[in-house]
Symmetry: C2
Subunit: 254 residues, 2 copies
């Protein structure tokens, strides 16, 4: 078994992602947002709208990482089963939340779109013991249960919910990155990069091929939370690139 | 434990996805491509460039699903460890593949970009017992080991490799979808949709909110491989939408 690991996992829930109908962008957004407050994302999973699958993933991820961020499945339709699955995963019950019910009831009473019907009432179902996550856009809240933050799948709503999550997280030192790009293939700088990785074992170095204006190149990225150390590594990367005949393009954070 | 499941899983390998630096698009592409030949994607995972994580994910997914499609980590740099991890996951060895070595050697000899150096030679490391997956774009091949198809992370290369994978798959009936959209919120059609789901339990129905030109609406999607049945469901969806006061926009495949 894999050991308990510091950091976060992301759990994307929804058939529409697995069918390729919808392009997930929440994973990247959450990852960058967490990186800015020093919490690395260690794993991401996408699971279908099937209770056993969601429950198993929640248990696996919440047992292993400090935090889990889920997106999707908290709307009013029959395939929105995330809240029930979270309750099942944590072995707790679920029922209509009086405060949420009242707030949503008032909201829908003021809108001429069919009222606070039974389907919309489903969005007031919150597991026992959960704390709410505010939804400033469309009112129906997310919730936190244990170390799992349950958020909407719609990107704008998810992003707004994250702002209410921030105060609950123990932030680390912000993770930043420096990038040195060069119009050379990965194979031309791989040996130099590997040597630098041995010199700076504490700074993960990555290598990412790109194509710009028809020219191929490689971005070398150093990540960490010690900006002085990253500046030193950036200089070392630029020196290495020159040594193999390349012209380093220092791109700051990236 | 979750039981063995028909269908495929996708395994995306790379720190750059988990940091949010790179937006994964391979998952959606593979999912749509597999859907066209009738193989549903049941799960997707993103793991970092860490051997224990990759090995554990490969074992979990290859033991549970018919096929696993991995992307990333087969380039020439020190963080490209996928081939070694696949060998470890399957308990087999790995070494330079003579045919691949010869082909890459000839390719790099003809290009003025530093020759077939030690880093590039890493791309000729193929696990014992693997069959190669052709790479018509940049020569360095992917490979199939057991039920796992190991492909590049660069989208254009991955897409080209898939063409060489197709003949190895046992295709099902193509999965298609019909979509009925309406400028109503999910909550207005949820009850009707749930009732239809009970009438057509064999056809998964999904509901996806959208915003177009500042107007909010919902797309109702029915999926399956029986086009006559889908046409019937499409009519039923349109009738249901009209019954709650909406104007159905039938959008065919989607």
């Amino acid at each position: 078994m894999l050991s308990r690991t510091r950091g976060a996992a992301i759990l994307v829930i929804g058939d529409e992602i697995l069918s390729g109908r919808t392009q997930d962008t929440n994973t990247g957004y959450i990852a960058r947002w967490l990186g800015q407050i020093g919490i690395p994302v260690r794993e991401a999973r996408v699971v279908p709208d099937i209770e056993a699958e969601i429950v198993a993933a929640v248990r696996a991820l919440s047992g292993r990482y400090d935090y889990v961020f889920s997106t999707g499945g908290i709307g009013p339709t029959h395939d929105d089963i995330t809240a029930d699955c979270m309750a099942a995963a944590f072995g707790t019950g679920i029922d209509l939340h009086p405060g949420v019910f009242a707030a949503l009831s008032a909201r829908y009473a003021s809108m001429n779109i069919g009222g606070f019907n039974e389907a919309r009432q489903r969005m007031a179902r919150i597991p026992y013991g959960a704390s709410l996550i505010a939804n400033p856009l469309s009112a129906a809240p997310g919730f936190q249960l244990g170390n799992v933050f349950v958020m909407a799948g719609i990107p704008a709503v998810m992003q707004a919910m994250l702002e209410d999550v921030r105060r609950r997280l123990v932030a680390g030192r912000a993770l930043t990155a420096v990038t040195v790009s060069v119009f050379l293939g990965e194979g031309a700088i791989a040996a130099g990069l590997a040597a630098l990785q041995k010199t700076y074992p504490d700074v993960p170095l990555g290598s990412y091929p790109f194509s710009r204006d028809g020219r191929f190149g490689t971005s070398l990225v150093a990540r960490g939370n010690d900006t002085a150390r990253l500046a030193e590594v950036r200089e070392a990367l630029a020196t290495m690139v020159r040594a193999v005949g390349g012209e380093p393009l220092v791109e700051g954070a990236g």
